[in-house]
């Protein structure tokens, strides 16, 4: 896999610099600001396998800098699998394998000599269920910076800045030494966001970050995402179409292809476009069908 993807990577790198082609259909994106958008991720025929089972097939897409991209689609369509392939979290599953190429600023994420540890430092992740460490609020935020051996004397500032950016500082500034597990679910999720941005990553991957939260906490996270997109590229998986419509700039609609013989369910990208177009004028009838609630 490595040798293959390396050669692929050099080829695609040339493509990116020499062509202004966008993987999501040039004609629809040539207008307005997106034409000059910086591509952060470029997936070319990206497939993810678990053993012999193909979870997602031939994904071609681009993720643009400082925009929010939402993945929507029915359950089991591989949204989360695709998201987790962006920071190599799928590597944790021994049988997982990736085919095709995924370029991050022109470099192959799965290329030879690429360390998943370094990849994950650049590409932060927020999980579906808030997963604060059973430590103090302070230690949670300081975990990443300490891994990077940032100087101790700056730590208080890093923690404060991260918590401020996650709109959590005012609520917790008097109890930084208390356990993070004593916070509400919404606060825990914002803490996880603060923890993820403490090391100033480039991209923030969010896997259904609001699915375990109440509507008020959800609103706060959504507002926070709008703040964060000034500095971060955000990719969010969501089950909630209204959320995708509210927060995202681009939307990718994935669906499931069920093999007639084996019954295997493989995720496919149906279409990707600016969110307003997906929701008002989708090119593929399946997208429109899903959005208007006819299936899924």
């Amino acid at each position: 896999m490595n040798a293959e993807s390396t050669s692929e990577s050099t080829k695609s790198q040339v493509e990116i610099t020499s062509m202004t082609e966008f993987p999501m259909g040039e004609d629809r994106l040539a207008d307005t600001d997106s034409a000059r958008a910086e591509v952060v991720f470029k997936a070319t025929n990206l497939s993810v396998f678990y053993g012999t089972f193909q979870a997602v097939r031939d994904i071609n897409m681009g993720i643009y800098a400082r925009e929010i991209t939402a993945f929507i689609g029915p359950s089991g369509c591989g949204k989360t699998t695709l998201l987790r392939s962006f920071n190599r979290m799928n590597d944790l599953i021994p049988s997982a394998r990736v085919d095709g190429s995924l370029l991050y600023h022109g470099e192959d994420v799965y290329g030879e000599g690429v360390s998943p540890v370094i990849v994950r430092r650049k590409i932060g992740m927020v999980f579906q269920k808030p997963n604060p460490f059973p430590k103090s609020i302070y230690d949670n935020v300081a975990y990443g910076p300490r891994l990077l051996k940032w100087p101790k004397r700056d730590m208080d500032d890093v923690v404060e800045e991260s918590l401020r950016r996650a709109a959590l500082w005012d609520e917790v500034k008097d109890r930084l030494d208390e356990s993070a597990l004593g916070m509400s679910g919404g606060q825990q999720q914002r803490l996880c966001i603060a923890r993820a941005i403490a090391t100033k990553p480039d991209v923030l991957l969010m896997d259904e970050p609001c699915s375990a939260l109440d509507p008020i906490a959800t609103l706060r996270i959504e507002e926070l995402m709008q703040e964060l997109k000034n500095d971060y590229t955000i990719v969010i998986v969501t089950h909630n179409m209204q959320q995708a419509a509210r927060v995202s700039d681009y939307t990718a609609f994935l669906s499931v292809d069920i093999d007639d013989e084996s019954g295997e369910r493989t995720g496919e990208l149906i279409e990707m476009d600016r969110t307003d177009r997906i929701f008002t004028n989708a090119a593929d009838p399946r997208t429109e069908g899903y959005i208007s609630g006819r299936f899924g």
């Binding site: 021994p94 540890v117 994950r120 269920k129 997963n131 604060p132 059973p134 975990y143 090391t199």
Partner: protein, 304 residues
Amino acid sequence: MRSNTPVTKESSRSSIVGATPAIERVFSAAFTFLVTSAVLFALSGLAVILIWAFSAGWSRVDLGLFTNAPSTARIETAGFRTAILGSLYVISGVIAIIVPIGVASALYLEEFSDRTSRFARFVDLNIQNLAGVPAIVFGILGLAFIVRGPFGLGFVAAAGSITLALLVLPTIIVASRESIRGVPRSLKEGALALGASPLKAVSTQVLPYALPGILTGAILSVARAFGEAAPLLLVGAVTFVTFNPRFWSDGYSVLPVMIYQYATRPQASFRLLAFAGVLVMLVLVMLMNSFAIWLRNHYDRPLQ
């Protein structure tokens, strides 16, 4: 019941007021009785042994029991000093061996091996098999390979340590694995997503969270090793030593074997000494367990 609601006779009869059916009450009373008597049976067995040992041996307990060397000539002042030291040496050796090896093996099997690989499954199966091997088999193994054979350590406390360590390793490995498996995956994933190396994620998140369970496994293993006599009979603990043993040189004994030695003698005063020896063991086991429990509570996930 409001009179204006149209209620049929049938539905008004299906009231929630009423007794649990008699048969169910009988069954649940019988079940409660069964489980309660099971607990009482276990506890009373333990209580009888303790009371018996105390009533039979208490008159012989004094400080000399701990500080005096064993003796067949001066029975009235004979003690267990050398056996206590021998036991402590052997147990220290066991702890030094099983904690690092046991925890490392458990970590490998749970966190670093591909659990579906044939090798991992082979190791897994055999650890469970090893846990069921009789203690005396380990004694013979110790005699053949550690006392004599390739290691050739002789009848020394170190040989006892290694033999007992092999015996109880499966216990600590299985307990540590259970504990490591109980750590939420989300913690490790959270650490990895922040750019922690697998080793760092395990050492900063998984291990601290699993530590109380690992310590419980260590307590169980050490307590078992402490009370074990059979394998040690084969690797040298039978000597009636009246001098303080040393870890690497010949001649040592341990408490259970010493108690056995006294108990097999016909004179009543030796049997009294054996009972007193049981109390000495109980005191030492309780001291060790209290320390381990203190340690566990001390590290018990400081922030919940």
